[in-house]
Amino acid sequence: MSKAAALRPGPPSLPEWVRRLPEYLMIWVPLLLSAAHLVSFSLWTIWISFTPSTLVPVTGWVGLRNYSAVAASRNWQIAFDNLLLFGCAFVVLSAATGLILAILLDQRIRGENVLRSIFLYPLAVSFVVTGTVWSWLLNPGLGIQKLVHDLGWTTFRFDWLIDRDMAIWTIVIAAIWQSSGFAMALFLAGLRSVDADIIKAAQIDGAGPVRIYRRIILPSLWPITITVVVIQLQFAISTFDLVRALTNGGPGIATQLPALVVYDLMFQRSLLGRGAAAAVLMLLILLAVLLPYAAWRYIQRRRAAHA
């Protein structure tokens, strides 16, 4: 500590706050700007959601009418059900895929760097590209089904893209392909940070690899799992471009998601008030995920401080 103080540059006569001014400017200005930006537009949207705005924002008060209209619309109901299904399936499956990939990569195999890059690579592709490519792959007349038919298995069916009940799963597939690499990277870092001495001790005690994973490694991955789940969930709630490119909400309106409904109301139907109401509902769903996470983090930190 004293060594660090001695190394600190600048004449010691300057007051503390002047010396630290660059740091303050670096941190607080962007932070305040982005907070003001975020908060002011959120408040603006909330205000619009209570006005009778259609083509352009107008003043006026309609109470909760926009909210009840959105909540009563078929589009929103379908979007909400889809969000529940898509959110759960996507988060669980992408975390599971990521974990399995990470465990397999953790076996000190050759070419690990190459494989890791390959699995991470989809993350570098934009969602629009992912959606478009998968819309071709999954199209029964062009993609996988046609390939298998051409190979001779003509009774093979894989037409989820045009099946109303299964279409939402095509979005799950594409989203998992895109982001399980990300989960893998986080899990891999977690696996590597497990204390090697504990594992060695377990090996000396005669524990097999399965047992070591079950009893020692996986339990220590809890904090990372929570992080993965929360990051993937907020991604799931705001999914827009992927669906737009893959199914555009179809067949019919079977794969609507909240973000799609917001865009549709605001910019295609020119119903700014209702669009804003839908956006606020989305914000509430996000808060329902993020607030418990923040609370959990807070409790964890307090526990750590007291321990």
Partner: protein, 428 residues
């Protein structure tokens, strides 16, 4: 030395005298300038508006067109942003009831004097004219017309079905589809999977089962008509059409499948007149397909009208105002409308343009004749799927129901009719 100075002065003086008339002219009448936005950036649409711009420049104007590619709604987002910033374009693309809606949020130009001078009102279909003069004054000018329910028949599919008669009613249409199916055409109806595509199937069915019911239910939103038997009959016909379509197209654009249509794998296509331009652009020949008015149960053509138009936004700048006057004169000019329609494959708004000459196709002549006959029998109605009958919000609510019905075969026509009425009630 003094002599040179005098010469120089003399020279300068004479140059000034020569330049004076030009200067005076520039003061009296500014050079017309037009700022315009539209979605027409590529293909025949882009070519047509570029040609219009050339004509504008030939008349001494400055043409400043900024296209916003993509759907019409994306152009509207730019328009909205410009209006809210207090800087609307002098002129923008806009059509149907949106003209009335948007004219409430920013001042528009009163074009009555220009329209009267051109004698334009007499040569425009009355239903169409009404859309462009909300509040009784002309503020927008229609540019070109398409019918959204033309029937395109694949020559090769007709050969497979051993048929040569063009279907007139839905019963004929259904017979022909069956014949095609048994003659080896896998999908008797060619289709895309977009929302307007599904909407077009429904409007074509309802308007030609009963133009009166279409007018009452879809254009005027009358409750009684919405509960009438014609709506259910229209949904039932849509189900038949849907059963003959290729479900694999997903959300593709209709143009993706034009090759299969020409090859005879798909037989009949209910599409707007613009498909002719798309087919021709894709390199197919007039021999490959036939164009006819869409089916009509009373035998007389039903015309589902779709018209592109320009709306003029008030500007204070003298050069922009001069540009608006020049643009309005050009848009109403029969020669300009001829040039425009010949590029895009539409038909002119003016009913007095002669289409017998060179440069017009058989399909365009058929369309123009269908429009004339339909107006005469009061069977020219405004297209719902292409936002001519209702504002965007209402249209979208209707298409929600229709597109779900097309893709979900477990919904009964009666259920769909109830849902349509409910959706309309919810969007009011």
């Amino acid at each position: 030395m003094p002599i040179t100075t005098t010469r120089r002065r003399l020279l300068a003086g004479s140059v000034a005298t020569l330049a004076l008339p030009a200067f005076a002219r520039a003061q009296g009448a500014v050079k017309p300038r037009l700022t315009a936005i539209s979605q027409w950036s590529a293909g025949s649409d882009g070519a047509a508006i570029t040609a219009l711009g050339k004509k504008f420049e030939e008349k001494g104007g400055v043409w400043q067109h900024s296209p916003v590619p993509g759907f019409t709604t994306e152009m509207m987002n730019k328009l909205r942003a410009q209006i809210m910033a207090g800087d609307p374009p002098a002129c923008s693309q806009l059509k149907g009831p949106e003209i009335a809606a948007w004219s409430k949020i920013a001042p528009t130009v009163d074009l009555d004097a220009l329209v009267a001078a051109a004698g334009y009102e007499k040569v425009v279909a009355p239903d169409l004219a009404k859309l462009h003069k909300p509040g009784g004054k002309w503020i927008a000018l229609p540019l070109q017309i398409y019918s959204t329910n033309m029937l395109f028949l694949s020559k090769r599919a007709m050969d497979k079905a051993k048929a040569d008669k063009i279907p007139v009613t839905w019963a004929d249409f259904n017979d022909l589809a069956e014949k095609m199916k048994s003659g080896g055409v896998p999908f008797p109806v060619a289709n895309g999977g977009t929302r307007p595509d599904d909407g077009q199937k429904f409007e074509a069915a309802l308007a030609s089962i009963s133009p009166l019911a279409y007018r009452a239910a879809i254009m005027n939103l009358e409750k009684k008509a919405l509960e009438g038997p014609e709506i259910k009959a229209a949904f039932a016909q849509v189900r038949k059409i849907a059963d003959w379509m290729d479900p694999n197209v997903g959300a593709q654009h209709f143009s993706t499948n034009l090759k299969r249509f020409v090859d005879g794998d798909m037989g009949m296509m209910i599409m707007g007149g613009w498909a002719q331009g798309v087919l021709r652009n894709a390199g197919f020949k007039f021999e490959d397909f036939t164009i006819a008015p869409g089916p009509s149960d009373n035998g007389k053509p039903v015309f589902l009208l779709n018209a592109d138009a320009f709306i003029f936004w008030q500007r204070k700048e003298a050069d922009l105002q001069a540009g608006q006057t020049l643009m309005a004169q050009l848009v109403m000019d029969p020669a300009i409308q001829t040039m425009y329609s010949q590029i895009t494959g539409s038909i002119p708004v003016r009913t007095d343009v002669d289409l017998s000459g060179e440069g017009w196709s058989e399909g365009q002549r058929t369309t123009a004749k269908a429009l004339k006959d339909a107006i005469a029998s009061n069977q020219a109605v405004l297209s719902m799927a292409h936002n001519m009958a209702q504002e965007n919000g209402m249209t979208a609510a209707m298409i929600d129901v229709i597109t779900e019905y097309v893709k979900n075969k477990s919904i009964k026509p009666e259920q769909a009719a109830t849902r349509l009425a409910e959706a309309i009630e919810g969007a009011r």
